[in-house]
Amino acid sequence: MYGLRRHKSMFLLPGLLTLLLIIIFPLLFTIRVSFSGWNVSSPQMDFIAGANYAAMLHDSRFWSAIMRLILLAGGTVLIQYVVGFGMALLVWRDVRGRRFWRVLFLVPMMTTPVVMAAIWQMIFHESLGPLNDLLGMLGLTKVAWLTESGPALVALMTVEVWQWTPFMFLLLLAGLLSLPKEPFMAAAIDGADVWRTFWKVTFPLMAPVSVAAVIIRLIEASKLSDSVYVLTSGGPGSSTETPGYYLYIQGLRDQQTGYSGAMSLTYLVLMIVTLTVVAAMLTRALKLKGHS
């Protein structure tokens, strides 16, 4: 019996080896690199202890980028959730052209982020873009979309929301379609109105899907860098710089391999801890809501 189990476990070996090669080895290598002074003019695996980590603690640009990401990711995912849920509810029931709307809502997600960011860059272009022309026609003041900090953040968030709301819509629609019919029938018999049915039945039943969707989007949003690269290059100044984009500058452009290794590991740990806490809090909050 023991021999058979051992024999069976051999079948796990290819998967384990692959895991070792593609996840564990790069991770261990990054840990080792983060303790080295590897940079553009000294590409060697020396040992400088925790010097990179010490430098990172004093790197205000990195910490500002982290704080900015919390605002960007938190803000955009919240909007995506609300809008995505609304869209899913719209096409959940029988509406005319339901299939058409479902496909249309998914189009942004199917486009390439970098290409769409380039198109949005043209839309937000302050002298040639259609958005400012539209504002002008409405008698409103033109906005410095990409050259002032506040509007630049709004522009970036708009692109993120536009691109990724369909993903939220897709998950939430799948969740809605899988809900049992009985609770809704019971609510109808009890005479619950639409609003009460949503808060007391739909929303609690959707809690597990909602938590999963929000967490998946937060994980994706925490890597935000391609839209930043195309749309603002982190500017004006550093007002739209995210950790992902700052890592790109340090690691790939300036080739501070050791330092960017330390930053990426710290960033990884921070993200794992933050997202675990957020997931736990969301689960608890929604469970409580469901039981109330």
Binding site: V40, S127, K142, G235, P236, G237, S238, L252, R253
Partner: protein
């Protein structure tokens, strides 16, 4: 059993030997005898057969070792040349075009990899540092020489002796040289200069209006202060009568684009003192950064003030935006590389032959870094800022073919044609290119052609020149500087504070790379700047 393992060892050794032989024969291509030329001496050359995207201009193949006629005698069939270059079109397009031609006339196979600018440095340097012959030929900005030089094959004497190479201006031969050896193959000459719209600045009515409003004559600005006054006066006015406002100045301001070059252009006359030798970026003795000294701070103050004269979105202009803003007639003045000028001179441009080139604006005083005072004297400092260059890897197994490709790329006929295609990014770098008649043949007015060649050749004669910081880690230094400039432009920091922080960053970078290593490299830059 023992016999079997012995046989196995012999078999393994045979495989290793065969593999090694295969590798060796691949790395050391056999030299084939020359074959009959495919071109006649002095034959007409044009790019017409490659499509309508290329001009129909014809030039003569200039006899010499790099000509179509000479290169077509070489037989590189069965061999592969690997090239890395910038993305299409800037330098990437001519790289591909000449690779295709080289294949057609020599039988070689040429593989070109085009990479976006942000990845080019890493994609070239990483294999070089690892000793891998990933690419035989590399195209990159010449200011990276401090990082690349240890891995480059010096240009052999036979290529240095070609007429084309002998005609490269002294400034660009200096740019290609590292510690006395020519390690980069010149293919382009870049510098910053001023471009203005003469239909506005030389219009008598506007001159009168300007005089009435400011009490000053309207002319091509000689100082940055004049530049600002003129830009501010015309900004927001409709200069074309198309119902849309025009603006004073277009500048490269996007942080991760080439903002550092724009800033150095603005700082040059304030910081490059003709009578003070030594570095302008660092104090050569102590290697203390000088980028937060009063000259640089004043330049950043000027740049912040200039924001009011930029077009909407002008604070986020990359080079492409700057080219089209001036080249498209949106702005009155601009300063950077040739591209905006060439764009404005395209046949379909509405400001074709309504523009003029001039030296970068100067200043009425210059900061003396030894006495730490401002010296009241008119000053002007041309800025030779990067330029695309090319080189052959020391690790390449096809060095002869690689240098032949570069020799062909930059032969007189190809260069003459490349100069006329603005998007190629190939700009004058030989004395022969400072010929107004050539530009007049392209449809340029005499005055425009004259202002262009005189501006460019005048920079060569200056003895108060500024060059890029050509040291190891130059990307890091420029990234830190651009970050400071961008912070000031965005209003996040005052100019002095922004440059103080950039200077602190520079000190850290110098410590990391090694003070002596940076100093040794920087001596080469100072030698170029202090050349008399």
């Amino acid at each position: 059993m023992r016999n079997n393992s012995y046989k196995g060892m012999i078999a393994a050794a045979a495989v290793v030997a065969l593999t090694a032989t295969g590798c060796t024969s691949q790395d050391q291509p056999e030299s084939k005898p020359d074959r009959p030329a495919l071109f006649k001496p002095g034959e007409e050359i044009s790019y017409r057969k490659y499509g309508k995207d290329y001009p129909a201009t014809e030039v003569k193949d200039v006899p010499g070792p790099c000509s179509y006629e000479s290169i077509s005698r070489k037989d590189y069939s069965g061999q592969t040349l690997k090239i890395i270059s910038h993305a299409v079109p800037v330098i990437g397009e001519p790289t591909k075009l000449h690779a295709r031609q080289f294949e057609e006339i020599t039988g070689a196979k040429v593989e070109v990899v085009n990479v976006p600018f942000g990845e080019l440095h890493q994609k070239i340097l990483t294999p070089l540092q690892a000793g891998q012959p990933a690419y035989d030929v590399m195209f990159y900005p010449s200011l990276w020489i401090g990082d690349m030089a240890p891995y480059l094959a010096p240009v052999p004497k036979e290529y240095l002796d070609t007429p084309g190479m002998k005609d490269v201006t002294k400034a660009y031969m200096d740019v290609a040289t590292w510690n006395g050896k020519v390690v980069q193959y010149p293919v382009d000459g870049d510098r910053h200069y001023l471009k203005v719209r003469t239909d506005v600045l030389k219009d008598p009515e506007r001159q009168a209006a300007y005089k009435a409003a400011t009490g000053k004559d309207l002319r091509t600005p000689k100082t940055w202060a004049e530049y600002q006054e003129i830009a501010a006066f015309f900004s927001g006015k409709d200069l074309d009568g198309d119902g849309k406002p025009n603006f004073g100045s277009a500048e490269v301001t996007k942080r991760d684009d080439l903002t550092f070059s724009a800033f150095i252009s603005r700082a040059a006359p304030y910081v490059k003192h003709p009578d003070v030798k030594g570095g302008l970026f660092f104090d050569l003795d102590t290697m203390k950064p000088l980028i937060n000294t009063p000259g640089f701070v004043r330049a950043l103050d000027d740049m912040v003030k200039a924001k009011s004269t930029w077009a909407p979105g002008g604070a986020n202009f990359g080079l492409g935006d700057e080219i089209f803003s001036f080249g498209g007639g949106q702005t009155l003045m601009s300063y950077s590389w040739d591209d905006a000028f060439i764009q404005a001179q395209q046949p379909d441009s509405r400001i074709r032959n309504k523009i003029e080139a001039a030296a970068l604006p100067g200043s009425t005083e210059v900061y003396n870094r030894t006495t730490k005072t401002w010296d009241k004297k008119p000053n002007q400092a041309p800025y030779f800022t990067w330029g695309w260059t090319s080189a052959v890897s020391k690790a390449s197994g096809h060095q002869k073919m690689a240098f032949d490709y570069l020799c062909f790329f930059s032969n007189e006929a190809n260069t003459a044609l490349d100069l006329t295609v603005g998007r190629f990014g190939v700009n004058p770098y030989r004395n022969a290119h400072f010929d107004a008649a050539f530009w007049e043949k392209q449809g340029w007015d005499k005055d425009v052609a004259k202002s262009y060649v005189q501006t460019l050749s005048g920079m060569e004669k200056s003895t108060n020149r500024v060059f890029d910081l050509r040291v190891p880690g130059v990307n890091q230094y420029m990234s830190a500087l651009a970050n400071g400039v961008a912070a000031a432009l965005a209003g996040q920091k005052a100019p002095q504070q922004a440059l103080d922080e950039a200077a602190r960053e520079w000190s850290k970078i110098t410590e990391q790379i090694g003070k002596d290593k940076v100093r040794d490299a920087y001596r080469n830059v100072v030698a170029l700047e202090d050349y008399r």
